[in-house]
Symmetry: C2
Subunit: 321 residues, 2 copies
């Protein structure tokens, strides 16, 4: 797989230059290198390191059916009306739940497909060494290089790693909708912890008021200091673009709030730390399976057969380098 | 948290002896040590290493609402009628979706709560260093020590790690039900890859026949060699105990099939390998954050500010030991 996506150093420099000039094919090619975990990623990230951190990264998460794609489409329109260039990274999870849904939803965004100020890309991460936690930041660098003002990272909020991706954004939107049933109810407690802005979409439906009340109560239970950001709850009907201007105002307010305090830089530090850790752990894991560290099979057989406990096996795996 | 669950070597030996004699309090205490990632786990796993691998581990996974708890309760009854001792480990995911649902469902199993041949335990894994991938095998060792013939590991099939746990079982049951909507449809492709036995629960409802046909088509697309196990599809109405005897027969057939070939030992080798790897990676990760390896914060700041690329940062993190 990687053969087709490797590139020479000159190729890479040309691609990065192309992306800097906003050329869509160069951007697409670079994100494919990320998606396929190309050996070229290492020199590529070296070339792009200085371009990091320009775009406002907005995470969107929510269960299937809450209207993520419709909301994303509406947000794109609102930012474009403000003269900003918008990238969208739709993360197709590396969980067993990657399926047609996320990719299929992309089609609904085609309203923006002829707008040069918008680039929409879905990315799988199954093949990526460090999984989502390295693939997403690397893809974000490509958007940074290409000079997008805003990048929306959309994930299906059903797995831990996807929620983590959304939560390492500068601003995390949690989308909910009335009448989604049991699973969503169970999910809410966890998802509520990561939201900077809550969006109750399909707010014209029955149950919207109850849902808002429920979220308000849960947010109130979270300990917020006097100087902390208090997550607002925004009502939208994204399919009719209702509430979207208000939503974008709240997103911008969150950005300004964080930039005025230290939170903006702190959150980006966390994101960089997670990325470095994930890459380092991926290297260690690869060594377990290749010549670097031997004997994992023997150790596993000894543990399986009760001749060795797993802690001692892990120690031996690490010492034998 | 750990202070309250540490134990001396003598305490531990007494607990293990108690568990060997089937004493419920000792079993409960040992699983709490696992759950809380106690420092005592290392000596404990040393004491228990020889007891590994006795129980038939049956994984159950499925989305919320398919009837996992009802099915588990019915399976317990069927195995008890065959004179076997049954343990249940209900994994409360470390994902943000841990909520009341799994724990609440436990209450429905109280039918078996006075039966000494049954031990039911739910376990959270948020605090566990290696997460689910180490906590679940460690808890399984406790069930092994206590001499259970069968251990059902129940997970909510919404996150990658939970599905992984289910799939490292000796036999993995995938539960589905008609009329579960979009999310489940999207989920199916991934979940289908791990099933040894498919259970269509609520098979008296509309749509059951369509669901069975869909699963059959997907299973048929999977490449099965002439000597491979062909996952059966079992219809159940667990609330009325319909189809449960058939289900248990299929589970037993899968065990016999694997034990006759090399698959039984091979799958357990995989489980041991994952456990060792997860423990080793947890050690490495801990070193990133403590005195063992310094400079993660500085490296993260350099990456955030564009002075260093993440691969070089990861290299520096690993070399500085």
């Amino acid at each position: 797989m990687n053969d087709t996506v490797t590139a020479t150093q000159q190729d890479l420099a040309a691609l990065v230059e192309g992306a800097r000039n906003g050329r869509v094919r160069a951007i697409a090619r670079l994100i494919s290198l990320v998606e396929n975990n190309s050996p070229s990623l290492r020199p590529l990230m070296g070339l792009m390191a200085g371009d990091t951190g320009r775009a406002h990264v907005i995470g969107l998460t929510g269960s299937p059916g809450v209207g993520k794609s419709t909301t994303t489409t509406a947000i794109i329109g609102a930012y474009r009306a403000r003269g900003m260039r918008v990238g969208v990274l739709a993360v197709d999870p590396s969980s067993p739940f990657s399926g047609g849904a996320v990719l299929g939803d992309r089609i609904r965004m085609q309203r923006h497909s002829l707008d040069e100020g918008v680039y929409i890309r879905s990315m799988a991460s199954r093949g990526h060494l460090g999984g989502l936690s390295t693939a997403a930041p690397q893809a974000l660098r490509v958007f940074d290089v290409a000079g997008f003002d805003v990048v929306l990272v959309e994930t299906v909020g059903v797995g831990q790693s996807e929620v983590e991706i959304a939560s390492t954004a500068d601003t995390t939107l949690v989308l909910l909708a009335p009448g989604m049933g049991d699973g969503v109810q169970a999910a809410k407690a966890g998802i509520l912890e990561i939201g900077d802005v809550f969006v109750v979409n399909k707010a014209d439906r029955d149950g919207a008021q109850n849902l808002i009340r429920e979220i308000r109560n849960m947010v109130a239970l979270d300990s917020h200091g006097a100087d902390d950001w208090k997550p607002p709850i925004v009502r939208t009907v994204a399919s009719q673009e209702e509430g979207i201007e208000d939503l974008v105002d709240r997103i911008e307010a969150h950005r300004e709030f964080q930039q005025a305090g230290g939170q903006w830089a702190a959150r980006r530090l966390t994101r960089a730390r997670s990325e470095i850790e994930a890459l380092a752990l991926a290297t260690v894991r690869r060594e377990f399976h290749t010549g670097g560290r031997e004997g994992l099979e023997d150790l596993a057989a000894a543990v399986r057969d009760g001749r060795l406990d797993p802690y001692s096996a892990a120690d031996q795996l690490l010492n034998r380098s």
